[in-house]
Amino acid sequence: MDDDSFREFIGVRLDPLRRTAYLMSGDWHAADDVVSTAVTKIYQDWRRISQMENLDAYVRRTLVNTWLMERRRPWRRERSVPDLPPVAGQRADDQMVNDRLSLLKHLVALPPRQRAVVVLRFYCDLSVEQTAQVLDCSTGTVKSQAARALVTLRAAMIDVPDLVEG
């Protein structure tokens, strides 16, 4: 029965979790690692976790914490990418691909907590309060981290919103 409820709960969330993890890690391979680790953790304690009121916030927190922990491993250490891969032929189609790569490159270059704030606020569409709950920090921290991240992204010519208040 526990397995059924877990499968039902997590089944519909796997895809959003993978996408969130990808935006944080910048790599589908790493994203799957993070999601599988987080899902395993949740499964191991599902009986207790399933009684929580805000399950989604807990799951997101587990995902973010797992990612933060994973990236501390030396063999996971991220490094900034100096240049995009060389493109042999530049066509109109490629511009969109390169724009996306550019965003990803600048996103993964952000400090981890700033990156998490950007993903949670602007991809997951969480409020400042919800983001603070997931990251286990104050709303002020969320706002300041978001502001710094947006300044960085804006400097990189990424189209970012002017207001970050939640």
Partner: protein, 250 residues
């Protein structure tokens, strides 16, 4: 477009997951989980192929894609990781992969790397590598999946950083050796730090070589749920990881 839309665009068409929920939920399996870095190369290869295949199937996206990839399942979808693959394959990446193919024949025989050309190195975009690609090859022999992957981190390894210390190595038994050529990690799951059962053999072995020139070479043996891999296998794996041919030169 705004940031929110851009982020959503960035993750449209994700590749198929390389894990299975049932597998994660398998009784007794969860506590024996090993760090994700050790999850077999085989899945990695399968996903990578699906990525490339899916990309070829995207209408009007990449007419120059080799036709050999068209046999991929239609369900495979492109990803941004796949998008990181240059639209027309830069010849230098393929040239490096082709040169690496020849190295397979020079690996220790106990790794059973095919020498008939049936296994080839492939590459995919990798954020953080310099250049941003990773090369990998995988093969099976008697139920064991062997894998070799390599990329250039662009940085010298830091001797002060010990990946065997908590929390890095997680549940795995870990040994670290520092030499002039770099830092080598030997990891195995024979003595799982969470599971009270201590096996005499491992189901996963990994040798990670952080070369002093920035290359990171990963050699793995994966026997799935079967604890059949003698720890002495890491000797040959170490030899393979230190193989002088495993470079990213053209």
């Amino acid at each position: 477009m705004g940031l929110t839309e851009d982020l959503h665009d960035l993750v449209d068409n994700p590749p198929p997951p390389r894990f299975d929920l049932d597998d994660l939920m398998r009784p007794g399996r969860a506590r024996r989980r090993v760090p994700p870095v050790l999850l077999g190369i085989a899945g990695f290869v399968a996903v990578a192929l699906a990525l490339v295949g899916g990309y070829a199937l995207k209408p009007n996206s990449h007419p120059a894609q080799p036709t050999g990839f068209a046999a991929a399942k239609p369900s495979a979808t492109p990803s941004v990781t796949a998008s990181a693959t240059p639209t027309a394959t830069p010849p230098d990446y393929d040239a490096v992969a082709t040169r690496l193919d020849a190295v397979l024949a020079t690996l220790p025989k106990s790794l059973h790397a095919p020498t008939d050309g049936s296994v080839k190195f492939k590459w995919q975009a990798m954020t953080g590598a310099t250049p941003p690609v990773q090369y990998y090859a995988s093969w099976k022999y008697q139920g064991i999946t062997y894998g070799v992957s390599i990329y250039d981190s662009g940085e010298k390894p830091n001797p002060a950083e010990n990946g065997c210390k908590p929390p890095y190595a997680g549940e795995l038994d870990c040994q670290r050796t520092v030499t002039k050529s770099g830092i080598t990690y030997h990891l195995n799951n024979a003595k799982d730090k969470l599971d009270p059962v201590h096996h005499t053999k491992a189901s996963l072995l990994e040798v990670l070589f952080y070369a002093s020139d920035g290359r990171q070479v990963d050699v793995t043996e994966n026997a799935g749920d079967h604890y059949v891999l003698p720890l002495t296998d890491t000797t040959a794996m170490t030899t393979a990881a230190h193989n002088s041919g495993l470079t990213l030169k053209h």
